[in-house]
């Protein structure tokens, strides 16, 4: 898979489901060629972000304690991720919800289930079109 060679390299994925994290790691690193970091909660993401300095953040919407939108708010308060593009991952794609996420400042929404073989392409496409 040719690597497009732009600034998109480091991707942070926040997801509470361990199995999804495992397959996402494959999809992002091995298939997509990104340097990926996986977090199991919003709190962990807030901790990890300043050191990792991601180019893009993927947020699962439905998570216990801190959900996707709340995590986004918390990340916006940190200097390292004040303007980092964010994509929401959700299993519920209703127009009203998508609009809500976009109005929060998300770059896009990727529906779940995602396909591990094409997730990276989808991210690159959204990133190149909009970021």
């Amino acid at each position: 898979m040719p690597y497009e060679g732009n600034e998109l390299n480091k991707v942070l994925y926040v997801e509470d489901d361990a199995d999804i994290r495992a397959i996402a790691e494959l999809a992002l690193q091995d298939v997509g060629g990104f340097s990926a970091k996986l977090c199991s909660s919003g709190a962990e993401a807030v901790e990890v972000a300043p050191g990792f300095q991601p180019d893009l953040i993927l947020l699962d919407v439905m998570m216990p304690e801190m959900d996707g939108p709340e995590t986004l708010k918390a990340l916006r308060k940190i200097e390292a991720t004040q303007t980092t593009p964010v994509i929401f991952m959700t299993a519920r794609i209703q127009r009203t919800e998508i609009d809500e996420y976009l109005s929060l400042g998300a770059l896009g929404v990727i529906p779940k289930p995602f396909d591990p073989m094409t997730l990276a392409d989808e991210i690159r496409r959204i990133y190149q079109e909009l970021a």
């Binding site: 898979m1 489901d17 494959l26 094409t118």
Partner: protein
């Protein structure tokens, strides 16, 4: 990526898949526990939320691990639970009362187990035949019934369309989702098909899908594979762009599902290579007549040749053509006179008659037209011209008769015609001895739908049931709109037990469909009564019996199917 790296990746993916299947097995066990509570009406509010979340998680993940069917089924149940969960969240005072859910939902949850099992079989190629019974059970239904409309979604990324395909499956379509990068299987299966298949894709993939079609399907076959685009935008520019690329239809978010389903169905009917017309050819030159038959058959039309004009009238009643193609100069008879004879029968007053003639004198042609023919084809005609002119006349004739015979809202037969169909079926049963059923269907609490959501929504509900019926029944079955929200179906050569199973399946599917009105959504159920046509001396009595069974069903609780039981059963008969 190198081949070795690719293998390594596949191995790791497989490991993760296996792990997921183990988890899914334990998840469906937990869900099964909830299902039993639903059956006993003991599901607590907290369990409802847990069940809902578990389904949501499954819906969002199963596809990623190669179990798209499991994900789609979980999503369908999740959607059905959503309204209940949201309503309960608004009413804290109901906290302690158990939640009442239809038993149907419990059944659907139990069915998830089989889908996990199926996933296990599919991801282990060496054991594909380990559970033949499971696959057979799934296909058995298709064997007996189902002129299903085929829909194939093509995408670079399955996520978005998998949800849509699950919804479309709810409308009774046969749905497949195939990755563009793995399209070999799609090509093989498309090339084998005789009917139409609707290709569905997102507008961003449109160019690739159209490219795929032109690369792999011969140009003269493109008609059978119309491409329907789905997009997020509804501006002039986006529509123009989609049209310019060559999409046959386009729908934008938020999707109007009933409208989309309707369009898919009409495209499939219009584009399918099923017979596009019935042509009766009257020509005493047998060789020439047979040649016309062959040419028209090859173009997908059904033909019958009458070379002895004295048999013409009986052939008309038996074959019921859309048009008649008549040689004007037969040896012993005049085509012009034969045409006039046809018009004696009130039934054939509207039947188009086309002359095949070597007569190119306009005066003589006019004379023939006045005597009852509609048009002239001057011999010699090329094959192509013959096909085109006959096809277009068949099409017009069908349009006209549809306009007269079919209900404008649903496209189903009108009241008087469906009653006639019952009579005809009764006559056919007597002749050949097969068993047939008549079914009366009625939407439950339909007045409430109209009152709450408006008549526009009510019409959508009626049209949706009409689509579902057309999709799930065979072409040999006839469906009519009997009254406002009443439908009458004739199931030919179908015993009552089988009819009950079939109609109950349609009932279950219909009850799963979610209708949306603004931000609100609602669901509608239906009830049905079935009677065996053969049990009655008159068609009207069979209809009455089905109506009686329907009435009993409604009294005993709606959303179900009842079969008429004869009270005067006489063993000596």
């Amino acid at each position: 990526m190198t081949a070795a790296a690719h293998d390594q990746l596949q191995k790791r993916l497989k490991l993760l898949q296996d792990r997921f299947i183990e988890r899914a097995q334990s998840d469906v066990e937990t869900l099964g526990h909830f299902a039993r509570q639903i059956e006993q009406q003991q599901l607590s509010r907290q369990d409802l939320v847990e069940c809902y979340q578990l389904l949501h998680r499954m819906a969002g993940s199963a596809g990623t691990f190669g179990l798209p069917e499991l994900g789609a089924a979980a999503r369908s149940i999740e959607n059905q639970l959503r309204t209940v969960v949201e309503a309960k969240a608004r009413h804290a005072e109901w906290q302690d009362a158990p939640v009442a859910l239809p038993a149907d939902i419990a059944m659907q949850i139990h069915e998830l187990t089989a889908l996990v099992q199926k996933g296990t079989d599919e991801t282990k190629p060496e054991s594909t035949h380990a559970h033949p019974r499971l696959h057979q059970a799934e296909n058995a239904y298709e064997g007996s019934h189902g002129m299903k409309v085929q829909v194939m979604a093509l995408a670079h990324n399955t996520g978005y369309l998998s949800n849509l395909m699950a919804d479309l499956q709810g409308y009774g379509f046969a749905c497949e989702l195939i990755l563009l990068q793995e399209s070999e299987a799609a090509i093989k299966s498309l090339n084998k098909r005789s009917g139409a298949t609707i290709l569905l894709c997102q507008d961003s993939d449109l160019a690739d899908v159209l490219g795929f079609r032109s690369d792999h399907i011969e140009k003269n076959e493109h008609r059978r594979f119309p491409v329907v685009g789905i997009g997020r935008q509804n501006t002039f520019e986006s529509l123009y762009h989609v049209a310019e690329q060559g999409a046959t239809a386009y729908f934008s978010e938020p999707l109007d599902m009933p409208a989309l389903a309707e369009r898919i169905e009409s495209l499939a009917l219009e584009r399918g290579s099923r017979p596009q017309g019935r042509v009766l050819i009257v020509d005493d030159d047998k060789e020439l007549g047979e040649r016309y038959c062959l040419v028209l058959n090859n173009a997908g039309m059904k033909t019958k040749l009458v070379s002895d004009p004295t048999k013409m009238m009986s052939a008309l009643s038996a074959f019921e053509p859309d048009i008649v193609l008549m040689d004007v100069q037969l040896r012993a008879h005049s085509g012009v006179t034969l045409a006039r004879m046809i018009r004696y029968e009130p039934r054939w007053l509207g039947l188009p008659i086309v002359y095949l003639s070597s007569e190119d004198n306009p005066e003589t042609q006019l004379d023939a037209l006045a005597k009852g023919a509609d048009e002239f084809l001057v011999k010699p005609v090329t094959d192509e011209y013959l096909i085109r002119s006959v096809r277009i006349r068949c099409y017009r004739a069908r349009q006209l008769s549809d306009l007269m015979n079919r209900d404008s809202l649903t496209g189903l037969l009108k009241h008087s015609l469906i009653k006639q169909e019952v009579e005809r079926e009764l006559a056919r049963c007597r002749r050949s001895g097969h068993l047939s059923c008549v079914v009366m269907l009625d939407l439950d609490h339909f007045k409430k739908v109209n009152d709450t959501w408006g008549h526009g929504q009510g019409d959508i509900v009626i049209r949706t049931l009409a689509h579902l019926l057309r999709n799930r029944l065979r072409e040999s079955d006839t469906i009519g709109r009997y009254g406002g929200e009443e439908f009458l179906v004739v199931l030919s050569d179908c015993p009552t037990e089988q009819a009950k199973e079939l109609i109950d399946d349609i009932r279950a599917r219909f009850s799963e469909l979610v209708f949306t009105s603004g931000d609100d959504s609602f669901q509608v159920t239906m009830s049905a009564g079935i009677a065996a046509i053969n049990d009655f001396p008159l068609a009207s009595e069979a209809i009455e019996a089905a109506d009686q069974a329907l009435y009993e069903r409604k009294q005993a609780g709606r959303n179900g199917v009842s079969v008429y039981q004869r009270q005067d059963e006489n063993q000596d008969d």
